[in-house]
Symmetry: C2
């Protein structure tokens, strides 16, 4: 599956790296793409991932998921 | 001595950390304070530090010293 969420608060390459790193640690996630300008984060996973876990991973880094 | 420079491009806590970390590695630097909103970076050093080295350290992290 592939899912795109919108994340608020990412401002620079470090932010992108922090979110990417955290999401890549989530079970089932294979690839994460981040578009800094729009805040769109696209997650590719081999199986259904738990969106609750995704959201928590993003928030733990200090950013907010504003839409799923 | 204490010196305040202005740095452009720092947008978040990660940027602040990157600049602080790099400047703390410079010979003679004891303390670094960063004001993200204004971009002002205040460097406290026990001796005269080489401003060329300071500038290079900031730029190596991807930011620009716009005034010394």
């Amino acid at each position: 599956m592939q899912k795109t969420i919108k994340v608020e608060g990412m401002t620079c390459g470090h932010c992108e790296k922090a979110v990417k790193g955290a999401l890549n640690e989530v079970d089932g996630v294979n690839e994460v793409e981040v578009d800094l300008e729009t805040g769109k984060v696209t997650i590719s996973a081999g199986e259904d991932v738990d969106m609750q876990v995704i959201e928590e991973a993003v928030e733990e880094q200090g950013y907010e998921v504003v839409s799923e």
